[in-house]
């Protein structure tokens, strides 16, 4: 039984240009202690899916119109977005790390206040023990001189340090699942690696599940056990990490992997091939496959039939395509 089971999640945005199906029948699950990668280009709906699960979609213009998010036997979508049940889960059992460390912390509150508020709220700690715990959490995420720096303000921290604080906040109430939305995109490369290692160590140690949302294939390749690839609001391929990387089956995933260099690859052994064209505009999309205009593998059926549902092509390996690259 999965910890979190997302079924056919649909989140739409009503914009002035028309309806945007930002997440369209997204299904995935997370098991205890797993690290999951949710991969795709910007605007493919990965962040929207996560925010929908957390019920943090700004409404209007956004609206989660369908699907189920089963967590601990209850459907989160049945709860009021900011009602008591949802608030009790948010920040304690399901927590989030956001992309922008520079702006995600409140500039006028001390680090201590921002850490202790979840502890006081969800764990009923008193001020003194919450503060002690906050210092302990900062030590845990590798903030040097934590006892002193706990009273600093965010602007006195570097971007990487701020993201450590965000990780500490996410970990503070012993969460079941942490969602990390592009956690390392805004920090420099060396810090990126440190942060990812830190997150991996911590979740392994605490037996917490981690969902990393990213467009960086390198990140998921190294850390994720299972991967979901998204395109234009849908999951188009999912499977075990090594399978996706070594034997991708969907033309988009194949194209994605062909377009990025691999570390340690010798110069000249493989030519990088870009995916031509742009991701589609999500407004008023045709019912056919959204990748069709860019696809190099298309067959006649693709133009006529609607975008196919996910189908199993191997054990735990699913694609939503009429063509199966390996099978060809």
């Amino acid at each position: 039984m999965a910890l979190l089971d997302v079924q056919d999640l649909q989140t739409y945005f009503h914009t002035e240009y028309g309806l945007v199906k930002a997440a369209d029948k997204v299904s995935f699950h997370v098991n205890q202690g797993e690290i999951i990668g949710l991969v795709g280009e910007s605007g493919c709906g990965k962040s929207v899916s996560i925010l929908s699960i957390m019920r943090l979609i700004p409404s209007p213009p956004g609206e989660t119109v369908g699907g189920k998010v089963i967590f601990e036997g209850k459907d989160l979508l049945k709860f009021e977005a900011n009602g008591p049940q949802m608030r009790a889960i948010r920040g304690s059992k399901l927590t989030m790390i956001f992309q922008e460390p520079m702006t995600s912390l409140n500039p006028v509150l001390t680090i201590s206040r921002q850490l202790t508020e979840t502890l006081e709220l969800h764990l009923d700690m008193d001020k003194h023990s919450a503060r002690e715990r906050a210092i302990e959490l900062l030590r845990m995420v590798g903030v040097p001189d934590a006892a002193r720096r706990v009273d600093d303000y965010p602007h006195q921290f570097s971007g990487g340090m701020r993201q450590r604080v965000m990780i500490a906040i996410a970990l503070s109430c012993n969460p079941t699942i942490i969602f990390a939305d592009e956690p390392t995109t805004a920090v420099d490369v060396t810090t990126q690696a440190q942060l990812l290692e830190l997150m991996k160590d911590l979740v392994t140690r605490l037996d917490t599940s981690l969902v990393i949302v990213t467009h960086n294939l390198g990140v998921v390749a190294r850390y994720a056990q299972r991967i979901y690839v998204m395109y234009a609001g849908r999951i188009i391929e999912s499977g075990l990490s090594e399978n996706i990387f070594n034997h991708p089956r969907h033309p988009y995933t194949v194209g994605l992997l062909n377009s990025v260099p691999k570390l340690g690859e010798r110069h000249g052994t493989r030519k990088l091939i870009p995916i031509y064209g742009l991701p589609p505009n999500l407004i008023n999309m045709p019912t056919t496959c959204a990748f069709l205009p860019r696809c190099t593998e298309k067959i006649g059926k693709c133009e006529k039939e609607p975008w196919p549902e996910l189908r199993a092509v191997d054990k735990d390996h699913y694609i939503s395509c009429y063509v199966d690259i390996k099978g060809k």
Binding site: R87, R90, F98, L105, N106, P107, V108, H155
Partner: protein, 322 residues
């Protein structure tokens, strides 16, 4: 923080000195004879040309107006530093005494207008931001938009007509000091304060509303939601302090607007305050009084801007620690 406050005080003093120069130069360099009023008094007929050139010369000497401008300025400043604001030509009294009489009145009603205007406006703005898009928000925002266009003096006249003349709820005009008869004084200040406070409320409400909406869209407020906090906690702990930073910086401007409004309101309601003193002095060409009262107004604004800067530093740690 101490260093920050000291720096602000020094800047404030510097601006105060520059304001004395500005006021002095404007009064002295603009065309117009500073003795015009005196000459009219002197002749007793309102005709200026009765005074002979010799008498004119003598008067210029008596008032020190024959000296070069910088020397005159220095004379004026050094007198002010000794607490002497000069003599009123028209009334023939020390200006410091005139101002001591009228300043408490303006300070009293100005303070009340400021409190009502800012707090009222901030509360309305927060309410509208939280209820954005509802008919109450739309109604209040529209009223605020209209409120910003109402000339203070006109509103005063309308209030007199409706609430004093037609309904008879309040006295039409005049002034009773609160330290003489508090309750009676209250009935006298209600209309003047309402007239000026409306504009203040309107401006503050618009600003607060847009600042609150801006803050609501920030990443750190999203983080706060992701923590599972209640809306009330998010608004009070995470949004208000941030939204108040630009609002507080606008307080100085609001005070200026309210002091300016009080000039009109003192005219409409016949309240003998600073504004009235200055307007009368302008009509009587009592240049020393004009100079002194403009300086007092400037001083009040500079002092309150200093308080605003300190409040700003207290609100925003990025200022405090830089």
């Amino acid at each position: 923080m101490t260093a920050y406050i000291i720096r602000r005080i020094i800047i404030g003093l510097m601006i105060l000195i520059l304001v004395t120069m500005l006021v002095f130069l404007l009064v002295r360099l603009l065309p117009g004879d500073p003795l015009m009023r005196y000459m009219a008094n002197f002749s007793g007929t309102g005709q200026q040309n009765i005074m002979s050139p010799e008498q004119h010369e003598a008067l210029l000497k008596e008032f020190g107006l024959d000296k070069p401008i910088p020397v005159q300025y220095w004379d004026w400043i050094s007198k002010i530093l000794r607490g002497d604001l000069g003599q009123s030509i028209g009334v023939g009294q020390p200006i410091s005494k005139l101002i001591a009489d009228v300043l408490p009145r303006t300070a009293y009603i100005g303070f009340l207008m400021f409190i009502v205007g800012t707090f009222g406006g901030i509360l309305v703005g927060i309410y509208c931001a939280l209820r954005r898009g509802t008919w109450m928000d739309n109604t209040l925002t529209t009223i605020a938009n209209i409120g910003m266009t109402v000339p203070v003096f006109w509103l005063g006249i309308i209030l007199i007509y409706v609430f004093a003349y037609k309904l008879g709820w309040f006295p039409m005009y005049g002034w009773v000091a609160p330290w003489d008869d508090f309750w009676k004084s209250c009935t006298y200040v209600v209309l003047p304060i309402s007239a000026v406070a409306l504009g203040g409320i309107a401006g503050m409400a618009r600003l607060t509303r847009s600042c609150m909406l801006e803050v609501m869209r920030t990443d750190y407020v999203r983080t706060a939601w992701a923590k599972g906090l209640r809306e009330r906690v998010i608004v009070i702990r995470h949004q208000l302090k941030n939204a108040m930073i630009p609002v507080v910086t606008a307080l100085g401007g609001t005070l200026g607007m309210i002091l300016g409004g009080s000039v009109f309101i003192e005219t409409v309601f016949s309240i003998p305050g600073m504004g009235r003193l200055m307007v009368n002095a302008i009509f009587e060409y009592d240049y020393q009084v004009v100079q002194a009262s403009a300086l007092i107004f400037g001083g009040i604004i500079i002092f309150s801007n200093l308080l605003v800067d300190i409040a700003w530093g207290w609100l925003d740690p990025r200022i405090r620690f830089s």
